[in-house]
Point group: C2
Chain length 324, copies 2
C-alpha cells in the first residue's frame, strides 16, 4: 500500500491509534495544538533536531526501525545533556510520495518503541509530502527543577572532564557503511545510538556535573563549546580516550582522529568538581555504564591535546560544521 | 557572502545576537536544549509545522521577509485556534549551500519582526545543510488556563458557525502567482497571512467559542474536522460566505470552489452557542476584525451545503490532502 492510498489524515489516524494515553497530556494528536500539563516547579527543557535523507542518513544503510529510534534518540540525548527527564515529543515528517506504507510503519514502530523505552509520549507534529527526500524534524520536551539543570557554562578550572562509553565508534561505523559493511558493533553505533538519559538525569540530580554536553559534533567541537561558554580552557590526555576494541582495530595509524572529530556517538561529556570523581564513577557504574576521565579544565582558553608520549597532538579536523 | 564562509556556528551566533532576552526563558539559544519557565496553572499548548520549498512555497514568488513571517504565522495560527497566548518558538532550518547570507538575513528579519509583533521569543532549534531545497520546521508554544482552552470537539447542535475575515483569497493569490502576478491583495494574502491571535485568545477567555480551528486546509476540510471530533453535522449557507471583492472579481463561474476548498487563509472558524452571537460579534469588532455567521451545527454527521437559491451545492474538491 502506498501513502497516496491512505491519505494524509488516514496516516495521522494510523499513527494516533498507536500512541498510548498519558496523564500529562490533556490533549494529544488531533487538534490544532497539543496541550501538556507541566509539572509544578520544573523548567521545561526543549530541543529540536532535523534529520535529512542524503545529509544525516542514507536509506540503503539501515532499516526503518533503526531510523525511527535514532530520530528520537538524538533529541533525547540533548535533553540528557541538560539533566532533564524526557516527557513529550512532536514529529514532523516530509515523505516522498513513492515511500511505502511498510516503510512508514517500520519507522513508526522503531520510533514508538524507543519512546516507550524512555517514557516519552508523542503528542503532535506535522505530515506532508516531500518533493526531495525524506525529512524528519523532532522536537522533544523534558523537565527538571531549575537548580538541577546542567548547562554548558558551568565548568571551572580544576574540574575533571569525563566521557561516558566510548567515542569514535559512530564515525568508524559510517566509514564501514560507506565501504559496504552492513552489520557489526560499529555500524550499530552509527545507526542506533543509545541516549544516556539515565546517566544525565542521575548526574544532574546528584549535583555532580558542573557542565555537560552530548557528543554529537565530536569531542573537540563539543568540549570546545563547554570551554567557550564557561570561559575556560581544557587539557586532554589522549591516551585516556575511551576507545572500543572494534574502533582500535579499524582506526589505522592515527587512533585519535575519528575519536576526537567524528561525532554522532551521543555519549555525555561532562565536568566534575575535583574530589567528587569517585562518587560520580560509582553513580555511573550503578547504571551499568562507564565514565572515563579524559582530562582537566584549566584557566585561560583553548584545548591542549597531549598524546601518549607527552607531546602535543595537532588534530587534522576539529568537528563537524554543516556549512564548512 | 555565502553560508559556507560564515559556518554553522557563525550562523547560529548571528541569529542569537538578534534575539531579545525574555524573563520566561532562563536559558535560550546556545545550549543542548532551551529552558522555559511555564506560567503556573496554565497548560502548555504546542504545535509544529513544516514548510518545504517546492511544496509549500516557491522562492521566486515572494521575498525572504514574507517567507520568514509566514513560517511563524502558520504556527501562531494553530495556537490562536486553541485560544492560547503564544510565548516561545524553535526554528529548524535546512539550507541549500548556494543560498546567500542575504537571503537568510532577510528571512530572519521577517521571522523575528513577526515574533516581536506577537510577543514570542525564539529559544532554539537546529540548522543544517540541505541537499534538496530549503526546509523550515517551526515548533511554537503557547499557554492558556485549562478551562479556557478551545478544542475541535466542543461543537453542539444549534451552535452558530462563524468565520473571521474572508476566505478563498490565499488560494486565489496562489493562482495569480502561478500566472505571473507578483503583487496585490490576493497575492499578499497567500504570501503573508496574518494569524488571528488576538481574536482566538479573546474568544477563549470570554468563553464564547465551543469549538475552533484555523482554516489551513479549506473551510470544508476544517469544518469537517470539527464535525468529526464533535460528533455533529453542519449546514452551511454559501451565500453568507465572507468573500473579498478582489476574490469575487477573479472567481469566475463558481465563486464557492476556492473559498470552500482552497485553504491557507489562516482565518478562524469557530462555533458559538446560540444566543451569544451578538456578544461575540461585538468582541471581535472591538479587535478591528469581522466575524461572519456562515451556518449552524446540526445533529447527525456530514456537511449540508446550501447555495444562494436554496439548492444543494456539490463541491468538486473537499480540502487539501498532502498524499491525495
Amino acid at each position: 500500500m502506498r501513502l497516496a492510498e491512505l491519505g494524509e489524515f488516514g496516516l495521522i489516524d494510523r499513527i494516533a491509534d498507536k500512541v498510548a494515553a498519558s496523564s500529562s497530556v490533556p490533549l494529544g494528536i488531533g487538534d490544532d495544538a497539543a496541550a501538556l500539563l507541566p509539572t509544578p516547579e520544573t523548567l521545561t527543557l526543549i530541543t529540536s533536531d532535523m534529520l535529512l535523507e542524503g545529509v544525516h542518513f542514507d536509506l540503503s544503510f539501515g532499516d526503518p526501525q533503526s531510523l525511527g529510534r535514532k530520530s528520537l534518540s538524538v533529541n533525547l540525548s540533548d535533553l540528557a545533556a541538560m539533566g532533564a527527564k524526557p516527557r513529550h515529543f512532536l514529529l514532523s515528517i516530509a515523505l516522498p510520495r513513492e515511500l511505502s506504507l511498510e516503510f512508514m510503519d517500520g519507522f513508526m514502530s522503531g520510533l514508538l518503541e524507543q519512546a516507550e523505552r524512555f517514557g516519552v509520549t508523542l503528542v503532535g507534529g506535522d505530515t506532508c509530502a516531500s518533493k526531495g527526500g525524506l525529512a524528519i524534524s523532532i522536537t522533544a520536551l523534558g523537565e527538571q527543577r531549575p537548580e538541577r539543570v546542567v548547562k554548558r557554562s558551568g565548568a571551572a578550572a580544576g574540574d575533571l572532564i569525563y566521557l561516558t562509553g566510548t567515542v569514535g565508534d559512530a564515525a568508524a561505523g559510517l566509514r564501514e557503511l560507506r565501504a559496504g559493511v552492513r552489520g557489526g558493533f560499529l555500524v550499530a553505533r552509527q545507526l542506533d545510538p543509545q541516549p544516556r538519559v539515565a546517566a544525565g538525569v542521575a548526574l544532574a540530580e546528584a549535583g555532580l556535573a558542573s557542565a555537560m554536553i552530548d557528543v554529537s559534533d565530536g569531542v573537540l567541537g563539543d568540549l570546545g563549546h563547554i570551554c567557550e561558554r564557561s570561559g575556560v580552557g581544557a587539557r586532554l590526555d589522549l591516551a585516556r580516550l575511551p576507545l572500543s576494541e572494534e574502533y582500535r582495530a579499524t582506526s589505522g595509524a592515527d587512533p585519535y582522529a575519528l575519536a576526537l572529530s567524528g561525532g554522532e556517538d551521543y555519549e555525555l561529556l561532562f565536568c566534575v568538581p575535583k574530589g567528587r570523581g569517585g562518587e560520580m564513577e560509582a553513580l555511573v557504574a550503578g547504571l551499568g555504564l562507564t565514565a572515563t576521565r579524559i582530562g582537566e579544565i584549566v584557566e585561560g582558553s583553548g584545548l591542549q591535546l597531549i598524546d601518549a608520549d607527552g607531546g602535543a597532538y595537532l588534530p587534522a579536523q576539529r568537528g563537524f560544521d554543516h556549512f564548512g
